[in-house]
Assembly symmetry: C2
Homo-oligomer: 244 residues x 2
């Protein structure tokens, strides 16, 4: 039977769930990210008072591809008007609801060190659709403090507080060796979406999606670019490595 490498472990962990977790005609994460970009572009157009836009104009103004915009959007419905283009406001609101950004989601922050504190105060994480509702830290000295309006708790309180505040997302900003434990805790608390900034890749499961964001990878990429003198480096658009 030659080699065939390895059967590429069809999603491990969680006992015996009957499928892969990705159903139907799954949306590629690349498409998903572009939808975010489109939405932001539309918001800028709205700020400028524009009411209608064609895929062409979106493309040339924001350095995107017109045909790709159309393909991406067509995947979710017919949002445009032939011969005219897209209504900026309508399309923005469609994308918003598609991405689930049309409502507020409560987030908890695990690890309130330098990076965690910065996230707690980071406008993009506390404006619009996302709201950090509580922080947790292993250091008992931090218990009872607040960052802005965000109360800091001990890790033991995580399950109770997370449930009480109906947190849906957890942001992990703990040291690498504490990441696995932190994930286990938030999972126990019923959190199903995790953004992991610890320099340790954590496994994503269908039941608890983990997005690993390793800031070092970006530096390595720039380093390679510098090393190679700018040649032999393909153009951008890159992963922030997530788990299998």
């Amino acid at each position: 039977m030659s080699e065939s490498d390895v059967p590429r472990a069809g999603r491990r962990s969680a006992s015996g769930e009957e499928s892969t977790g990705a159903r139907r005609d799954a949306v590629s994460p690349l498409t998903l990210n572009r939808l975010s970009v489109y939405l932001r572009s539309l918001q800028e157009l709205m700020d400028r008072g524009e009411t209608s836009v064609s895929s062409q104009r979106l493309a040339s103004e924001f350095h995107l591809s017109a045909s790709q915009i159309r393909k991406d959007l067509a995947q979710f419905g017919e949002f445009g008007v032939r011969g005219v283009g897209y209504d900026v406001e309508i399309l923005a609101s469609k994308l918003s609801s598609l991405l689930g950004l049309d409502r507020v989601r409560a987030m908890i922050l695990v690890g309130v060190g330098n990076l965690g504190t910065a996230f707690a105060r980071y406008p993009a994480f506390n404006r619009g659709s996302f709201q950090v509702v509580a922080g947790f830290d292993a250091d008992p000295a931090k218990r009872g403090r607040t960052i802005g309006r965000i109360p800091i708790h001990s890790l033991d309180e995580l399950p109770a507080v997370a449930r009480e505040k109906k947190a849906e997302i957890a942001i992990l900003a703990v040291p690498g060796d504490a990441a696995a434990d932190a994930l286990e805790r938030v999972r126990q608390a019923g959190i199903t979406a995790v953004l992991n900034f610890a320099p340790t890749s954590l496994p994503s499961t269908p039941a608890c999606r983990v997005k690993n964001v390793d800031l070092r990878i970006h530096l390595a990429e720039l380093s390679f670019f510098l090393e190679s003198g700018g040649d032999e480096y393909a153009e951008d658009q890159t992963p922030a490595r997530s788990a299998s």
Copy 2:
């Protein structure tokens, strides 16, 4: 000639440079990111005292694909020994030098707010190959302060300090509306690699590579996952969107 959308603007901006910037057989950023992952896995094996490893074992232990590991590595030479595998230490050092991580690079930090301060103290940004050597902020009150050992300067001092400290990389952690100006300043100072954390996508050019890391995109992705109930969401591995 029907439509053909738009000729996808063959790299605009900078006057008339004669080529794209990516030459020869350019390395895909996806490959590049995986090399980082391999390197980290190898480092873990070294910590454990392992001296040799096969692509199979690397794959199964770190949730990677064996054939892909081989393909990726083969692109840069023959690092393995047939019938045996790879020497952990040798391969790690090859990857290190390939990625340009075998020497220290000086970085400057533009914007010393919450996020900037966190980066200044962030171990991954100040250990090994990368070293923040100075910070800059538009707020004159911050001038003369230090974060750890890192001195904070006013923005005007950027060109002089950056050159004096031989900075190669700039990290932008400024508000969105200050990002374009910040990029212009670091570019003027001769910096050719930029990591942009501002929530504004900046254009990358062959002469000054910009990597945009928009943290909001990751949240939007998780939001979509939550919204869709976990189905119709493909598996991970995703872009942190860079410019065109």
